[in-house]
């Protein structure tokens, strides 16, 4: 049994272990309407990428610890100083200075509400979420942006208050570790691995 590709960094170099690709033979594509003549060939490919989160890594690490981080420009010379961003922006889009990292968890618990939503019956290949997917876009008090995420329980509505939940057990270290449930949802109803 082969092993999925795994990576760690040592001395600023990627150290890799396991299989980063799988070999599958090409097969011919033939024309059933024309004497099975050759039209082409399949090109199977299955690869694993190594992706750095860079300055956003702390955001994804924090999800697994039950914290929602955002950033804010505190540059006194900036025309948009004090603007809070989530999605997390490492640099201010105005002055390009380095933003301060702030903990938005309490603000989210107190003020998160659905700005818009969509219940999606389809997904693309490699989707890991249950269908239908309930996309929600969330407003927070004092935040300039509207975060895209997904609702794990209940039916979304404009203005509905929602609470963040975090995959603190068996985290994936992706944006899927953050989800939302309607205000008042009891802990025991949360999806497996998630906590408030």
């Amino acid at each position: 049994m082969s092993m999925f590709g795994q990576v760690f960094v040592k001395d600023n170099k990627y150290k890799i272990k396991g299989d980063f690709h799988h070999l599958t033979p090409n097969t011919p594509i033939r024309d059933a309407d024309d004497g099975w003549k050759l039209l082409g060939v399949t090109n199977p490919r299955d690869m694993t990428y190594m992706h750095s989160y860079g300055g956003e890594a702390i955001f994804f690490e924090s999800l697994s610890q039950g914290k929602l981080l955002a950033t804010r420009c505190d540059n006194s010379g900036c025309g948009t100083r004090g603007t809070t961003y989530i999605p997390f922006r490492i640099h201010c889009p105005d002055c390009l200075g380095k933003n301060s990292i702030i903990d938005l968890t309490a603000v989210a618990r107190k003020s998160a509400r659905i700005h818009t939503f969509m219940v999606c019956e389809r997904s693309g290949a490699f989707n890991l979420l249950d269908k239908p997917i309930k996309f929600i876009n969330i407003e927070f008090d004092g935040v300039a942006t509207i975060l895209m995420s997904y609702l794990s329980l209940g039916e979304p509505k404009f203005g509905m208050r929602v609470l963040p939940i975090f995959k603190t057990s068996g985290p994936t270290f992706t944006i899927l570790d953050l989800s939302w449930v309607p205000e008042g949802t009891p802990q025991e109803q949360l999806p497996e691995g998630f906590t408030f």
Partner: protein, 478 residues
């Protein structure tokens, strides 16, 4: 509130006029198991030469640099695909460059080509776009398209681009559409219209004679959007030749094509809709600030601009384009448009972004009958027909080619060659498609000016391409 500087809002100026002299396109279809991409590009190029009554080899003698629109390398599994096409077209050693701006790739490629001629770098350029979307099954295709969203913050959420778009549609549907059944039927009418016009277009992939109820009964993709509200996934190529005035005169001397003045402008907005900050509505020449003062009262929740309901990039592309071409009111100044109908609802949003109707009233463009070739209420010509090609819903969305296909369509009307180029029985036969018995010419009589809007998913890039008969310009120095 964010604002834009005077320098940023400067109306673009060209160093010299630029002309579109010819254009061409391949057949469009969901798959071409028997053709390589270069064969489709050569089909498009050969057609463009044919419309000038010269051979492809003769046309190539004039070309000095090349602009290739091809969005998704991973669909075709070929990096430097531009280089492959350039070689197969036999255009070495000319300089060429690839352009990639999602769904707006075709429009952006025209933008680059126009600038090359306007600056004097080249006197004649080739603008060619294509997309190969049939090398993977549809759900893998949806995955590949979703890679155009932010890979850490959006794509893992279902790997389905329609969903990222649909949240915007939902907001528009509830705020400006007031979730009304009548508005839902208006959206369905757009699909009926575009699949219907596609019936008269031999190049089109999805001709259908359907009703509003057929659209409303098609499978839900993302409520309220259904399968027949969505654009196609296509394979095909389209091209255009842009020139300076002298070359344009030479190239068209034996042809029915008149050189058409071309202006292309572009706008952008954040890749993630999440990041769209509040601002005052940038105004077009046919609008006043006063008219939007009470927008939030008329449409509760509609006061946040652009929020999730407007496309700033489209508005800015129209602002620059109208300024360049001297357009003060698109409905009266233009004779037809080809809009980027990725979804029926985003088509309505675009009517507002580009000033065909004020924000909040896009549906009226359909309900009034103005958007039809022939207004169904009056039997008279529609005021500003849209998407007579069938658009992205009925004709194709072969991404890199789309904006060029739209421009080709607009040009055929101004050349008064629409009927000849869409009614030719031999073409229908060559494409193995049946020309309907009730085939009707959609030529817009007396068309002198038109526009195509090319748009990348969720509104990250938008271009406006304006074509005008040079004897009917709106501004002297434009």
């Amino acid at each position: 509130m964010i604002t834009f500087s005077r320098q940023q809002l400067k109306i673009p100026r060209l160093q010299r006029p630029v002309y579109l002299v010819t254009a061409g396109q391949s057949k469009f279809d969901r798959a071409f198991p028997d053709k390589r991409t270069e064969e489709l590009c050569i089909d498009a190029f050969t057609m463009a030469a044919g419309l000038l009554d010269i051979s492809p080899a003769e046309l190539k003698q004039y070309i000095h640099s090349c602009y290739y629109g091809h969005f998704a390398d991973h669909f075709g599994d070929q990096l430097l695909g531009e280089s492959v096409i350039h070689d197969r077209l036999g255009l070495d050693p000319l300089g060429n460059v690839g352009v990639k701006t999602g769904g707006a790739t075709g429009g952006s490629t025209l933008w680059e080509g126009m600038k090359a001629v306007a600056s004097g770098y080249s006197d004649c350029v080739l603008v060619m776009g294509w997309e190969r979307m049939d090398e993977v099954p549809t759900d893998e295709g949806n995955f590949l398209i979703s890679c155009a969203a932010d890979k850490d913050w959006e794509s893992p959420l279902g790997h389905i681009y329609t969903g990222y778009y649909a949240v915007m549609a939902q907001r528009y549907w509830q705020i400006f559409g007031k979730s009304e059944e009548s508005f839902r039927r208006t959206l369905a009418e757009i699909s009926v219209k575009h699949h219907g016009y596609a019936r008269f277009n031999p190049f089109a992939q999805s001709p259908m004679k359907i009703t509003v109820d057929d659209v409303l009964n098609s499978p839900v993709v993302a409520y309220p959007l259904r399968a027949l509200d969505c654009c196609l996934m296509s394979v095909g190529a389209a091209c255009a030749i842009l020139c300076d005035e002298d070359t344009a005169t030479q190239l068209t001397k034996n042809s029915k094509n008149k050189p058409l003045r071309i202006y292309v402008a572009a706008g952008s907005h954040t890749l993630r809709p999440a990041d769209r900050l509040d601002m005052a509505i940038p105004l077009l020449p046919n609008e006043t600030a006063d008219q939007y003062k009470d927008l939030g009262e008329r449409f509760p929740g509609g006061d946040r601009y652009p929020g999730f309901t407007g496309f700033l990039a489209a508005r800015i592309a129209a602002y620059y384009g109208y300024g360049m071409a001297g357009i003060t009111d698109p409905t009266t100044d233009l004779d037809l448009v080809e809009l980027h109908d990725a979804f029926t609802i985003s088509d309505v949003q675009t009517y507002e972004d580009i000033g065909i109707r004020p924000y909040g009233y896009g549906r009226d463009y359909v309900e009034s009958g103005d958007c039809y070739h022939t207004n169904p209420h009056t039997g008279q010509p529609g005021k500003l027909p849209s998407n007579l090609s069938g658009g992205l819903i009925g004709c194709m969305h072969s991404v890199g080619a789309t904006g060029i296909m739209q421009t080709f369509e607009v040009a055929t009307h101004i050349w008064h060659r629409w009927e000849e180029l869409h009614g030719d029985a031999q073409l229908w036969q060559k494409f193995n498609r049946v020309k309907p018995d009730d085939w009707t010419s959609l030529q817009v009589e007396g068309a002198k000016r038109g526009m195509a809007i090319s748009h990348a998913g969720v509104g990250s890039h938008v271009t406006s391409t304006i074509l005008m008969d040079p004897d009917h310009l709106l501004a002297k120095d434009a």
